[in-house]
Symmetry: C2
Subunit: 332 residues, 2 copies
């Protein structure tokens, strides 16, 4: 017998999946970022659930309001990566007995903010007594079946692209948890990335409409880890030539003698989209995202060789499958 | 400032609800047992979430497999009470690090059982590290809007009715937690009621089709507490003249000098349906449930006076608003 700690999350999920009888004709297979059932007229009802656990997911410096907002936003990010608009949310909450009425209010306000920022509503849920704060959020979305952006459609020759810039959350966490220093002007956006993450919902919805996207995932487990997930689901590889590192991260890394690429590749809790794009529709995809004021950066190309290499400055090295799972933040 | 313990669950929910902006034109108001959005053609997509917490919801003697099965069944019971067929389930799981591969397998098997017994499937979810076992289950169902059985439609003169018999879970818990004794023949069904609860899904679906039901709830918080919930949602009262006590409970109560009515009214985690029925359609409702081999017992009548009285043997006494919340079981 092995403990969970020895097994790791992937193996735990594998054991559970072996126990489950699979629904016949599942429109979206197990292992994608959201689940769905067909509801007629070519439409999918899409459901998604993910849990925020106080001890492992709430770093010191994050308020209850920010934590409960994040519990909603991290779920919305998954629907964003699938191109699905959330229409309603539920929250199932576990609360320690010592929490006060003011704590509860902050949690309620955070839940509402997380939902309203993305034009959806909390429409139900339940509360429970628990030894640690637990916020399990569930989302319902509806979409046309053909617009659902899966993990599994990347083809050799497709362009690999990402929204936004990377490394801010990993840097922000180092400031919050390890007390690393940095001038206030740079500190603020890095901390903000941790405490008030944003989901790329508008971008995901716009991209789903273009028909340009062959595979999609959010970067919540880190850029490297998420690329590996896309690779496995699509049965391809990636040659990566560029990683858009946020300018604040470059400055933070310099100041603290850290590797900005390491911060950008192997972080996590960062909610950008990682996409593979049909080359012919690249400009369409770029415009759809650009119109929203967001950058879509070409970072590489899909290869038939099933490995992921970073080729920068004439050097080639593998991008490893590591990230969030392996250096989970701890609040105590 | 007050702690949750002082506030109680109802007040906690009230605080959270005050923080939430309400979705316009919600087809089902907050406070019912499931939430819904309209998806066109007079149909509702119904969603429901509820969390099982190891410390408070899993009594000693209940296996992990039984606990995870129950996490699904307790959610199905809520959809049953609304007359909604579950079409898919998600489970978001928090696991202590010390859990083994065999523990995970038992949890997976229990989740699958809970879903398959009610002809649905687990189609997704996620796993997390937590200090205690947490199983948050979410269900998606679809129904015609007019068949959704709310808490709020009871009218004076309607018949109050329940499926099945009461008191088994409260008795079973006393055997498991307090070690009360009883001959094996009676012990078994009482323990079984705790460890392997059944949801009245077929009965709920059949009743929803009759058009006979004006209000409905499951008895998961105890018969008394749930009657009070129906009373408040419908703005009526009840005159109760009969409580169907399970024969095993009568025997258990006699043997241990307990009050069988107390066990039946103020227990909980018992998944019968409590309904109000249009008098003219009483026989239709009774037949719909009877055809499934289940009893539907008339226990009283809806009154315009907003209180709940038990009138048995010429004596009248109020049925109090107490139950599960107030003597939550503890495993340690």
């Amino acid at each position: 017998m092995k403990t969970i700690q020895e097994l790791g999350e992937k193996k735990v999920i594998e054991i559970i999946l072996k126990c489950l009888e699979h629904m016949p004709n599942m429109p979206i297979p197990f292992g994608d970022d959201a689940s769905a059932v067909e509801v007629g007229d070519g439409k999918l009802a899409v459901i998604k659930t993910d849990m925020l656990v106080g001890e492992t997911d709430v770093p010191s410096g994050m308020s209850l309001r920010q934590a409960s907002r994040k519990a909603v936003v991290m779920n919305i990010s998954d629907l964003a990566a699938k191109g699905v608009r959330p229409i309603a949310a539920l929250s199932s909450i576990g609360l320690p007995r010592s929490f006060t009425d003011e704590d509860i209010k902050q949690i309620g306000l955070g839940l509402n903010e997380g939902a309203r920022e993305y034009d959806t509503y909390i429409i139900g849920g339940d509360t429970n007594e628990a030894s640690d704060l637990i916020i399990s959020c569930s989302l319902l979305g509806l979409c046309e079946k053909y617009t659902f952006m899966r993990r599994s459609g990347a083809k050799p020759g497709d362009i690999v692209a990402v929204t936004g810039y990377f490394g801010k959350t990993a840097s922000g966490l180092k400031i919050l948890l390890e007390g690393l220093s940095i001038p206030e002007k740079v500190r603020r956006p890095l901390i903000e990335a941790v405490l008030m993450p944003k989901a790329r919902l508008k971008e995901g919805l716009a991209l789903a409409k273009t028909g340009a996207i062959t595979a999609s995932i959010d970067s919540s487990d880190g850029l490297a880890w998420s690329l590996h997930e896309l690779k496995e689901a699509s049965g391809v590889g990636f040659s990566i030539r560029d990683v858009p590192v946020a300018p604040e991260v470059v400055e933070f890394a310099e100041e603290n003698d850290l590797d900005p690429l390491e911060l950008s590749l192997y972080g996590g809790e960062e909610y950008e989209l990682i996409l593979t794009v049909k080359p012919k529709l690249w400009e369409t995809a770029k415009k759809a995202v650009g119109d929203l004021g967001t950058s879509l950066t070409r970072i590489g190309v899909v290869t038939s060789e099933k490995s992921i290499y970073l080729r920068i400055d004439e050097k080639t090295k593998p991008i490893e499958r590591r990230g969030w799972e392996h250096f989970k933040m701890r609040t105590r």
